[in-house]
């Protein structure tokens, strides 16, 4: 499924569908520090967005607002037709449908790989254990490490752990996947195996938001690249336009720094 999908042309996002994520005039502060400034962003279903920018630009914060690991103070965020408010029940329902992959994997170290993958399906989706394990093994095969199912996270390499983290998110059959610098904590030789997994996932038509510095990856899968600096969306364009003709001075500066 995965390997063939990588070669298949991904289905084009359809602008007539209701959007997967919509942010309107969104602002966020940490105390007095204005982290996100007047963010307007619409992500279509099936769209792949790569968010880049210098550190401290608010790019991680923006995707952490989508599953409300961070709260915004002003404006609207609508995910899958539901507005994010303080209603905790609603937030938990939204979170079930959003997979998240963290920079530091955040696997549960006291559980085996298989238990990491079945925990949420069993306790959140109320799936039967046998079925949850079957689903888990299916996704472990997709990320190409079914033989590690009974090990603990601490026994795996960083790249393997991150692939487990991707499989863990997929086990909840999410509608949207968020990636928060998924390859930044990895040794260089392990970056490719994780990116390959993400490229395959993109081929399946998953809605994806990735905060990453992997510009080759962005070029390959992104429908749009979002460039952020100092809490603002400075530029948003197709990867070919963004990389060949960055329009803003700050984008140009960032690209020269990162491509060298």
């Amino acid at each position: 499924m995965l390997s063939s999908a990588a070669k298949r042309v991904p289905p084009m996002p359809d602008p007539s569908d209701p959007p997967a994520i919509e942010m309107i005039g969104m602002n966020k502060w940490y105390g007095n520090f204005h982290v996100l400034k007047d963010i307007d962003l619409t992500v279509l279903r099936g769209e792949k967005l790569v968010i880049c920018g210098p550190s401290g630009s608010g790019k991680s914060t923006i995707i952490r607002c989508i599953n409300r690991l961070e709260e915004h103070q002003q404006g609207q965020i609508v995910v899958d037709g539901v507005e994010l408010t303080n209603d905790l029940k609603k937030i938990d329902l939204i979170r079930r449908d959003i997979g998240m992959v963290f920079q530091h994997f955040n696997l549960f170290p006291h559980l085996t790989i298989l238990e990491n993958l079945t925990l949420a399906p069993i306790w959140v989706r109320r799936m039967r254990r046998a079925q949850a394990e079957q689903t888990a093994m299916h996704y472990l095969e997709r990320v190409k490490i079914p033989d590690q199912a009974h090990k603990y996270p601490g026994q795996l390499s960083g790249g393997q752990q991150q692939r487990v983290a991707i499989a863990r998110a997929l086990c909840m059959s999410p509608k949207i996947m968020l990636f928060d610098e998924p390859t930044s904590a990895l040794d260089p030789e392990m970056v490719k195996e994780v990116l390959d997994t993400m490229i395959a996932l993109a081929g399946d038509g998953m809605t994806m938001l990735c905060v990453t510095h992997e510009m080759g990856f962005a070029r390959q899968i992104a429908d749009r690249v979002v460039f952020m600096d100092q809490g603002e969306i400075v530029e948003m364009n197709t990867p070919s336009e963004f990389f060949s003709h960055p329009r803003h001075r700050r984008s140009k500066l960032f690209l020269t720094q990162i491509l060298n």
Binding site: F102, N106, L107, H110, L119, W123, G154, M172
Partner: protein
């Protein structure tokens, strides 16, 4: 964690072994002037203390002679007292004809403890089993429903120590977890309530809490509302243990990185499930050495109930020593009681060690 593997010395030839070992010990014991002096001093100490100790413990001791007379003339320990008085030491002033009841209670508690340490029996039904066992235990001890009634003031010895330990720690552990979570809560009333409770209990000596429970409560509670003295002491011990365990567990909670909460939140796990499935298993594991420490202290703290007139093992021992027919062998009695406490505490320490080794070792 892996032990450092040191290169092993080459296998000695068969004839070399004894000589080599002798040489090595000689170098170790007398290699330097300081080592030689220390070896000699320690040798003198051993020669002067071990033989008298052996004489007292075994050679000159009265081992089996059941009459008190033998103990009066013997210069060694009076172990026959322990044997002759074992009923009173173990069961205190519990009515003689009914001693089979506390005996069953002790066996039942110890058997259940042994059963409970097996990972295979860790399931919700284990808690149900304990609740059922405790009902049975209180019926056997207190009587009623066909058994002669025995008031708690006549309970004594090992069953009292075991019941106090098991119930106080068994209840204090979950309460301690709740207090630890409450103290980290973002809701101010809950957090402040937990802080006030924990700090006031920690700030008082256990003795004063026991005195409050047994002496002051009757002053301002009407008799109809006043729980039994045994129950009051049990509640006091439980609250005390809970406050200490709460702080130990909070220490474990502090060690869990924020990413674990975020990963649990990101898949939509609600608060209590996050705690139960993700955070507490890790936090408690981190805190095992400190938890074992606190729990062992609590096992021994149960002996303090003697100051409010409950007959635990130590009070029973003191009562047995009061028999005028015997020459009051206090050292032997307290060695025996000490051995029981040691057996309980050491078994628990081994269990904690086993828990620590279980499961993944790397983070």
């Amino acid at each position: 964690m892996k032990a450092l593997s040191l290169p092993l010395p080459a296998e000695p030839m068969p004839g070399q072994i004894r000589f080599g070992a002798l040489r090595r010990s000689a170098i170790l014991l007398f290699g330097t002037p300081l080592n030689a002096v220390l070896t000699l001093l320690f040798g003198v100490l051993l020669v002067t203390t071990v033989p008298p100790m052996l004489h007292w413990l075994v050679i000159d001791a009265v081992l089996f002679d059941p009459s008190p007379r033998a103990c009066r003339v013997a210069t060694g320990a009076c172990w026959s007292f322990i044997y002759a008085k074992s009923g009173q030491l173990l069961f205190g002033i519990y009515p003689l004809d009914e001693r089979w009841r506390p005996a069953i209670v002790c066996v039942l508690i110890l058997a259940l403890l042994a059963w409970s340490v097996r990972p295979a029996s860790w399931a919700p039904r284990l808690a149900a089993l304990w609740v059922a066992a405790l009902v049975l235990i209180f019926w056997l001890m207190a009587g009623g429903f066909g058994l002669a009634e025995v008031p708690t003031s006549s309970w004594g010895g090992l069953p009292v120590t075991l019941i106090l330990t098991v119930v106080a720690i068994g209840v204090a552990f979950p309460v301690g977890i709740l207090l630890a979570l409450a103290r980290r809560s973002t809701m101010p009333t809950i957090r402040i309530g937990a802080v006030v409770l924990i700090e006031s209990v920690r700030g008082l000596p256990l003795l004063s809490i026991l005195f409050v429970a047994s002496i002051m409560m009757p002053l301002f509670l009407p008799e109809a509302l006043l729980p039994d003295k045994f129950v009051r002491a049990l509640v006091a011990l439980t609250i005390f243990a809970a406050a200490y365990l709460a702080e130990v567990i909070r220490g474990g909670l502090q060690a869990i990185p924020n990413g674990q909460y975020e990963a649990a939140a990101a898949v939509g796990l609600p608060f209590w499930r996050t705690q139960y499935l993700v955070i507490l298993p890790q936090a408690i594991r981190v805190a095992i050495p400190a938890l074992a420490n606190t729990i062992i202290v609590m096992i021994k703290n149960t002996s303090l109930v003697l100051v409010v007139g409950l007959f635990d093992l130590i009070s029973s021992g003191k009562a047995a020593l009061a028999d005028p027919d015997w020459p009051s062998p206090a050292a032997e009695t307290f060695l025996f009681i000490g051995a029981i406490f040691f057996a309980l505490s050491f078994s628990f320490a081994r269990f904690a060690d086993f828990l620590e080794r279980r499961g993944p070792t790397a983070h």
